[in-house]
Symmetry: C2
Subunit: 295 residues, 2 copies
């Protein structure tokens, strides 16, 4: 049994706990949250505000917002505990991997970063597509589904009480944003709508703003993606490859984190992205039965 701690207990942390309890090979040692959240957590598991309060932890699954991951992963790896995270800021992944790789090696531990569905399993799909057809174009089309980052950006605009940003795929990597907003009583919809569309988060996409009276009535954790590549194998053109899914977003992220927590204890010291790890390491069971079932 792999002794595991969950760090952070929002949507993703709860899904990670569900996936851990359904897995045959993990024992959940406890949950780490910041002091201010200690009293809000409803669970029978041990909860603490410091990972040092738990003993013999093999893996920490980091479920905090992405911006907190770099320092948190560094600190936990330094204690000799393996980490897994779903850091999702694509442009910073390579630098984070480099930084954590050094710290992990110094502390004889391993880390898997960017281990959600995008980045994560989608990255593996894009890699497979290039393995099959090295020349060509891959399009990743997200949605329909709620974008956390864009919802937060819209909510941050003064006068917006609550907001939800839907990502709608238009194909070829282009997306429409539909921003549902609940306004403060004294706000003017027309001027706020203009402010949102001019915000750097939305200015580059086709953006529509719709006023509603209750954002909570719209919330749905479903999401999806279409990845397609038309490319060339050898000198043969028009090789068409497609991947699509329609999924509960935090449930999938939580499951992938748990699958990677299984893999991280099998790696040599260092930090890895999912395309750097054999897929078989992420699947429970003995090697023979996995190969007989899947290959």
């Amino acid at each position: 049994m792999i002794r595991t701690v969950i760090v952070g207990f929002g949507n993703i942390g709860e899904s990670v706990l569900e996936a851990l309890l359904e897995s045959p090979d993990f024992s959940v040692v406890g949950i780490v949250v910041t002091n201010s959240h200690l009293l809000n957590i409803k669970t029978d598991l041990p909860v603490a505000d410091d990972i040092n309060k738990f003993e013999n932890v093999q893996v920490a699954i980091l479920c905090t917002p992405s911006r907190m991951i770099p320092l948190l992963a560094e600190s936990i790896l330094s204690k000799g505990i393996n980490t897994v995270d779903a850091y999702d800021m694509h442009s910073g992944i390579y630098e984070l991997r480099e930084k954590l790789d050094k710290i992990a090696k110094e502390n004889n531990t391993a880390s898997i970063t960017a281990a959600g569905w995008d980045p994560g399993t989608d990255s593996a799909v894009r890699a497979l597509m290039e393995i099959m057809a090295p020349k060509g174009i891959t399009y990743t089309d997200f949605g329909p589904g709620m974008s956390m980052g864009h919802s937060v950006a819209a909510k941050a605009i003064k006068g917006v009480k609550n907001a939800l940003s839907m990502t709608i795929p238009l194909g070829t990597g282009l997306h429409r944003r539909i921003i549902y907003v609940e306004l403060n009583d004294d706000s003017d919809f027309f001027s706020l709508s203009k402010l949102i569309k001019e915000d750097d988060y939305f200015a580059h996409d086709e953006t529509h703003v719709i006023q509603v009276s209750d954002i909570k009535a719209l919330e749905d954790k479903g999401h999806g993606v279409n990845i397609s590549r038309k490319g060339v194998s050898g000198i043969t053109h028009n090789q068409n490859i497609k991947f699509a899914m329609s999924i509960n977003n935090p449930a999938l992220t939580g499951q992938v984190l748990v699958s990677c927590a299984r893999a991280v204890v099998k790696q040599a010291p260092g930090c890895y992205t999912m395309i750097e790890i054999p897929l078989i390491d992420m699947i429970p069971g003995d090697r023979e039965s996995i190969i007989r079932r899947l290959v």
Copy 2:
């Protein structure tokens, strides 16, 4: 540059050569064929009937029929040359991997077996789907496309001059077989059709036999697959994941073999299936640019 030899030069061998010549990191040392084929090969490359006639070979890509792979791979690994093959008899893959693993380790070489598209990249897709949703059912539906094995089985029946077996996907892993037959002048279509349908190769599927005057006019190397999984991430049901492709069959197999020839020289001694190898090892270029592009 990885010094590579192609062993066997039918459909797959030709596609492997095309993919090697398009790749930035290989040099093709030569082609090995049996003595009887030596004069039929049209190429400017060195051709020999014995791999020992080439020097400093790092990888041999085995492009012979599957039934010849076990002895051939064993013999070449014993010479200290890494091997890659697209052995496709699913029920024998684990035993072949075990056998070659031992020989590879004894000779300080590596081997990747079952490295085509099914088994091969499809195996990786099925593994990814289980990583995302460990409980559930995966269906692999092949086609429409020509089945080499079933065509050969139909052709082997006495009175059949030539045959082509199409695999048509019916969903949920079930397939229809349409067997096109060209008959010898003295053959009776009705009795031959009955013999084909009773053959063990066809008795378990919905099979139709159609008489044509010229099989060659039907030949098309296109094929395809649909892989779908509906499963559970953690405790969240109805996670829907799909993969589909429409491709030139030998071109894809040849390309995947070449991608794996790139990976095999990076592995520790032993024999591996594709789900046991990091995907990044199969892609050309430096690690940083691959991670920045795909993760």
